[in-house]
Structure formats: C-alpha cells, structure tokens
C-alpha cells in the first residue's frame, strides 16, 4: 500500500525528516509515536503534499504510484486521507456542500459517476450516525465554532464519507474526552479495518491504541524511525518514556 524509502524533507530549509523508511501493507494498522519535534506531523503533511514541505530525497510509492508525482488533490482521489491535528475552519462553506463537492471531485478524478444529492445525504447521514454526530452540525460551516473534540469527530465523518484506502491520522486523539475517544476509535475501526485498507496513526499516547490496536508500533525520533515493534512497544514507551526506549 505505502512504501516510504529513505525520505528526507525540509521545512523552511530546515531538514526535519532525515532518511525515514516505512512500509505499510494492506490490512495493517501502524502507529508512529515520538517526542515533540521528532517530525511526526511533518511526515503527514509531506505525504499529503502541503506547500512548504519540501521533499529533498527518497521516494514514496502509494498504491503502485509515485506519490510525489501527484498533486495533493490527486493524492486524495487516489485514496490518501490525512486527518488533521488542527482541522481548518472554512467560513461560509457548509460541511454538506464541501463534502459533496469533495466526494464528487474525487469520483470524477477516478472516472466514476457523481453522487446525486439524495445519495450523498444518505451516505452522510449514515457516517454521521456512526460517529454520533447530529446531521444538523454538518449543515454548519466547516469546523467553524466546533470544539476541539467535535472537529476530530467531524474529521472521522469526512473519512467515512470519502472512504480512503489509507488514512494518516495526525493526533486524532488530542482534544478528545474518554467517551469521544471511544467513539472516534470505533469510527476508525468501522471505516478502515478492512483487508484492502490501512491506517497510520500518529500519536503521543497509548490511549487511542487501546481502541484501535496497531499491528506495528514505530518510534520516530530525529527524523527517522529508530525502533519498530508490536503493540507491546507502545506500552513500554508509556511506562519508560521516549528517551529510554529510543536510546
């Protein structure tokens, strides 16, 4: 699904990723953990194609394509979803309008028929219910006036509607209370736990991993993966801290 080879990336000419390699197969859930400033969010943004995140070396193959040959919206249409740590507010544009345009832009790029208004609303209603989000909230402008937890839940509703192959979820657990964490965890499992899909969770803490159990845990430090293990590695990190485990 995703093969990252020796990836190097800079932000404002400052090298952040310094030779990161990682392979994610279909049906797998991976977690990347690491201290602040390790390059976790940079990895997500670089894969998503955010302007200002410059690839200076290495390669990434996604679903058989050279990821960096694709524009950000083409990456989305190819099935890459980036869950934002800080979802952006878009005043005046409702979630319903935004997501229908986005879903149909993706379908068009893949040569599929657009969803009708009715089909889209049915899908949106179903995915909102899964995340226990009131449909009325999706009639409001994108993320405007949403609490931190509501924004994260709305990200998961978007993921459900857009139905990606690979979800890279950047600190989706931050800002969530215990109940919301469970709902979001269930949402990730329901949408993404499939043999033909994969998830990369970027997180600081073990707690989300109680709900979405990873097959692999990686420690990112200094722009590289410094250790890889199974779910037990997350528990070890929680107990001993990054410094002891990454050293």
């Amino acid at each position: 699904m995703l093969q990252i080879e020796n990836l190097q990336a800079s932000v404002a000419d400052k090298p952040i990723l310094k030779g990161l390699s990682l392979t994610i197969g279909a049906g797998e859930v991976h977690a990347i953990m690491g201290p602040n400033g390790a390059g976790k969010s940079t990895l997500g943004y670089t894969l998503g194609g955010r302007p200002g995140y410059e690839v200076t070396g290495g390669s990434v193959m996604f679903a058989g394509q050279d990821l960096f040959a694709l524009e950000p919206w083409e990456r989305a249409a190819a099935g890459l979803f980036l869950g934002f740590q800080y979802p952006v507010e878009i005043p005046g544009v409702s979630f319903v309008q935004f997501l229908r345009e986005a879903a149909n832009a993706q379908r068009k790029a893949r040569g599929e028929e657009p969803l009708s208004g009715g089909e889209f609303l049915k899908l949106a209603r179903e995915k909102a219910a899964l995340l226990r989000m009131d449909m009325d909230m999706l009639k409001r402008p994108v993320n405007v006036g949403f609490s931190g937890g509501e924004k994260k839940r709305a990200e998961m509703v978007q993921m459900g509607i857009l139905d990606p192959k690979l979800a890279i979820l950047d600190e989706t657990d931050s800002g969530l209370d215990i109940d919301a964490l469970r709902i979001v965890g269930d949402g990730i499992n329901a949408t993404m736990r499939r043999p033909d899909k994969a998830v990369l969770l970027i997180t600081h803490y073990q707690r989300l991993l109680d709900y979405v159990q990873p097959d692999f845990v990686h420690v990112l430090a200094g722009g590289r993966i410094v250790r890889t293990g199974g779910p037990e590695l997350a528990l070890e990190l929680e107990e001993h801290g990054y410094e002891a485990v990454a050293a």
């Binding site: 998503g48 194609g49 955010r50 302007p51 524009e71 950000p72 919206w73 990456r75 989305a76 249409a77 979803f81 980036l82 934002f84 979802p87 952006v88 507010e89 878009i90 005043p91 005046g92 544009v93 309008q97 935004f98 997501l99 345009e101 986005a102 879903a103 832009a105 993706q106 790029a109 402008p141 978007q158 857009l162």
Partner: protein, 245 residues
C-alpha cells in the same frame, strides 16, 4: 459625490482612487434623492454588471425610526462607482451590503458618507470585494457622529480579496465622532485566500479552481444576506464571480 459640472481630480479625497477616464464620459452626475419618512422602510438593490461604466450618486435621508437597506452588486466589465450620502435621524437604521468584483482593468468603488445626526441610530456597512487581473476595488467610507448623537451604533466591515498580484484593493474606513456614548466599530482587511484552507480542501480532493470558487462564493454571499430577492441576487453575484475566475 457632489454634482458639480467640473470633473473632480484625484486631489479630492473621495476620488483619490477613482477611474477618472470612465467618470469623464458620464460627468456631471446628478444626485438621486431618496427620502424615507419617519417609521417607514425602504429597500433598494443596485446591480452593475454591464459593459458600460456606471456612476450613481445617492442622497438618502432617513427620518426618525426609518429603515433603509441598500444592496449593491458592483461587478461590471467597465468601472462602476456608487456614492451614498446617508443622514440618519433618531433611531433610524441604515444598512449597506455590497459585493464588488473587479476584473480586467475596471475599478469598482463604493464611497459612503454616513451621518448620524441624532441619537440612537444604527448604521451597518458590509462590503466584500474581489479583485483580479489589473482590477481595482475601493471602499472609502466615513461615519460622522454629530454632537448630541449619543447612543450611535455604527459598524463598517470591509474585506477585500486579491486574486492576482496585479490587482489592487483600497479600503479606507473613517470615523469622525463628536458625541459621547457611541459604539463605532470598523474592521478592514485585504488579503489572499487562506493557504491553510486551500490545502485542507485539496487534501479532501478539491482541485484548486474548485476550492477557490467555494471560498469566494462564501466570502461574497455574506454581504448580500437579507437582500430583497436574495436568491436571485446571490445567483447573479455567483455568475459574475464566475466571469472573474
């Protein structure tokens, strides 16, 4: 702003950024007087979408407790200038909601002088401009609160979006206050579309043209909210925006 026979020069504050060539063909411009008697309501929508330049000069007198709502779509292929002088008596309410779309080398401008002549009047001005190409969008707006006009509530919300580095927006909200106990706010911003928002939309699969269009539609829609025949006016504004993109 004044219907004198001689074409003003750029030395006149209200004409500092005007397209004088376009004005010359229409000068002198006669002021149109609108009187809204005490306690009554009037609404007016001005639409400029044509190929020929347009200049309008309105003098609006609002009586006690009168209400006047003016909505403007200033989006012609040639320059358009709307000047409004409004005088508010006690408890009157003046509302201006305007969209200006300036492309090519057109100048779209709105010039307002709002005078709060008596207590407790309200004025609201919401102007949203988009300029592309070598287009220029101007807002020159002055709110004057005369002595004794206590309890005045005035607001100017002026925002402009530039689509190209060659486009220009001038915004000059002004307050002149001679009364105490007055609430006057002005907000003014000229900018480009939010890069963070554009990336967020791209990451969900929206190509840049589509993302920009959605953001700009929302940006201008705000100013036309509450207009008479709002749906038709919003449609017209969206069509004019389409021509600019």
């Amino acid at each position: 702003m004044v219907d004198v026979a001689t074409l003003p020069t750029r030395h006149a504050e209200d004409f500092r950024y005007a397209d004088l060539t376009a004005l010359a063909s229409l000068w002198p411009v006669k002021a149109e007087t609108i009187v809204v008697p005490a306690g009554e309501r009037r609404a007016l929508t001005l639409i400029h979408t044509g190929e020929a330049p347009l200049v309008r000069d309105l003098a609006v007198a609002l009586g006690e407790g009168a209400h006047f709502a003016l909505h403007v779509l200033n989006a012609g292929a040639a320059s358009g200038r709307i000047a409004v002088r409004a005088t508010l008596q006690a408890g009157a309410h003046f509302h201006l909601g305007a969209v200006q779309l300036a492309g090519g080398d057109a100048t779209a401008e709105i010039v307002t002088h709002v005078t709060h002549a008596a207590p407790d009047a309200i004025s609201r001005q919401v102007v949203r401009s988009v300029a592309g190409g070598r287009g220029t969008a101007n807002y020159l707006g002055k709110v004057l609160v005369q002595p004794g006009a206590d309890g005045t509530d005035g607001e100017q919300s002026v925002r402009a979006m530039l689509l190209d580095r060659t486009a220009t927006a001038n915004a000059r909200p002004e307050l002149e206050i001679y009364a105490d106990d007055v609430k006057c706010a002005h907000g003014c911003a000229v900018g480009e579309l939010d890069a963070g928002g554009l990336f967020y939309m791209a990451q969900r699969g929206l190509p840049p043209e589509l993302a920009k269009r959605l953001m700009l539609q929302a940006f201008i829609a705000e100013a036309l909210a509450g207009a008479e025949d709002e749906a038709a006016l919003q449609d017209q504004a969206r069509a004019a925006l389409e021509a600019l993109l």
